[in-house]
């Protein structure tokens, strides 16, 4: 027995599983906290208090800190992931909701819902670089992996605004369905996928031509169409599959990126909002705003493994060290 245990321990230490332990960070809009969950054991490790109404979160390039849009504080808090304390704040403009980090990790792009601006923040100098005027109620933020483009969506104007990152100017707009929420580039930077919450669709936009190449629609048997509200989008690193959170439908759609067909709907908690992948892309985590939990999906078998409570109104989710 003892030998067996020693042998097992040896296997655990040698296996890459042990080495790749990671954490899942979930912002809880109502509890004003970030819940830290162990990615392997799925146990809540710590609940970290932050400022009022934390929503969008992003990991720093070096993986050592977490940028948190504390919407009602009108700034961004930078959480040190070693000490799990708020280290400093960044200026953001009023009511920051969603943010995206540029590929170099130096500039943070923040949507300010209240004043129709996108604010560019230098995280090293901790200053605002520029404010870019966009449509009414800016929301979704997507930076292309090649660093050339920022796509911002505006909820009321129903547009995806293409911002050239070398000049910080809006160079084009693409009309999408009602209430666009999230913009997500494919890994090759050739397409950007935009979800429309009220429209119930996801528009696939060709970046070079800046026009829609496909509009994905969803149908779940026995589910009213109004309940299908696409929000969070994540595309796998190999670009083969997209996962789309469908809000009050309590489902995540699994979409083949070649055919744009929905392969499967995964049942998760109520009002599923945002998604994050594990570093090895074996698991996916979803924030479920109404049922106050996070569902864990086995990405290979496309099966929901577990749902764990993570504080009230979970909103953003990010995987980090």
């Amino acid at each position: 027995m003892h030998h067996l245990r020693t042998a097992l321990l040896g296997v655990c230490l040698l296996s890459p599983l042990g080495a790749h332990a990671y954490s899942v960070y979930v912002s809880s809009e109502k509890d004003n906290s970030i819940t830290v969950v162990d990615g392997e054991t799925l146990e809540v490790r710590q609940v970290v208090p932050v400022g009022q109404r934390p929503r969008g979160i992003a990991l720093s390039k070096d993986g050592e800190s977490l940028y948190v849009c504390t919407s009602d504080e009108d700034h961004i808090e930078v959480l040190d992931l070693k000490s799990l304390k708020v280290d400093h704040t960044l200026p953001s403009g009023p009511d920051p909701e969603l943010l995206a980090l540029g590929p170099q990790g130096r500039f943070l792009y923040v949507a300010n819902e209240d004043d129709n601006m996108v604010t560019v923040v230098d995280v090293d100098k901790r200053t605002k670089v520029i404010e870019i005027q966009v449509g009414v109620e800016p929301e979704g933020m997507g930076v292309s992996p090649d660093g050339k483009w920022l796509v911002n969506t505006s909820e009321t104007t129903n547009m995806a605004h293409f911002i050239d990152l070398s000049t910080h100017e809006v160079v084009g707009n693409v009309l999408v369905d009602q209430r666009p929420r999230v913009a997500q580039f494919t890994p090759d930077s050739r397409q950007v996928w935009v979800s429309s919450e009220i429209g119930g669709t996801v528009s696939v936009i060709d970046v070079a031509k800046r026009e829609k190449v496909h509009v994905i629609t969803f149908a779940i048997p026995g589910m009213r169409k109004e309940l299908i509200q696409p929000v969070g989008i994540r595309i796998t690193d190999d670009g083969s599959r997209a996962f789309i959170a469908l809000g009050p439908a309590a489902r995540v759609a699994v979409v083949d990126t070649k055919t744009f067909e929905v392969e499967k709907y995964l049942l998760v908690g109520q009002r599923v909002w945002n998604l994050a992948f594990a570093p090895d892309q074996s698991r996916m985590f979803t924030t479920n705003g109404v049922s106050n939990d996070m569902s864990v999906v086995d990405m290979e078998r496309l099966k929901v493994l577990k749902s764990i409570p993570v504080g009230r109104l979970p909103w953003g989710v990010v995987v980090g060290p």
Binding site: P221, Q270, S295, S307
Partner: protein, 267 residues
Amino acid sequence: MSARAYLRCLLGILVREALRFLHQRERFFGALVRPLVWLFIFAAGFRSILGVSIIPPYETYILYEEYIVPGLVAMILLFSGMQSSLSMVYDREMGSMRLLMISPFPRWYLLFCKLIAGALVAILQVYLFLAIAWFWEVRPPPIGYLLALPALLLASLMLGALGLFLSSVIRQLENFAGIMNFVIFPMFFASSALYPLWRIRDSSLLLYEICRFNPFTWAVELIRFALYARVDWLSLAGVALALAVFLGAALLGYDPGRGMLKRRPGG
């Protein structure tokens, strides 16, 4: 008598039960149609009714189909238990029961063999049903299918013992239909087979308490937990206790000295 003789007796009864099942294939498949109708039609209508709360043994949200499968499995066992006791009443009327009872083996052993034989046929039906449910995307963890076996056996024996006891107090086949209505339906509906008990508590506390102490609820929960590789100790204890009580009552009922089977007018 040697253990060998006992074994031969068990085998004899098993073979007889197996033959009956072979001769009445309609009954076997007929018993499958009932839960399948519930699964394919009833569950489809209530698909989105669940998914608002996570209750053990489930670890995440499930569709209604997935929730009722253990309940339907228990339904197969319940109907099968009642039906095998129905056949006991029939046997008694036809006289073949007397033939069995005059064998030199103790009465309790003969009755227990009948129970085991009935249980095995029912469990066969259950696995066939679970196989069909698998294609309907109700897929408990693979190990659950194995771990469910002892739970199925215990629950099946308990429900069979209940049927045995009922058959001992019934004089004629005609009365049996009434008992079916007064036993099967209340037991099935006042249980956690079709809806989680917290839902019932929301509407009636009294009904909730009745459901909680329904042996059929224990059977359903025992099977539900076992299918998801967990043990519900409370239900396990409940099923074991109910088995002991029903079996004891059935033995009393079939004891000629005590008289429920004693010669009665018309009996």
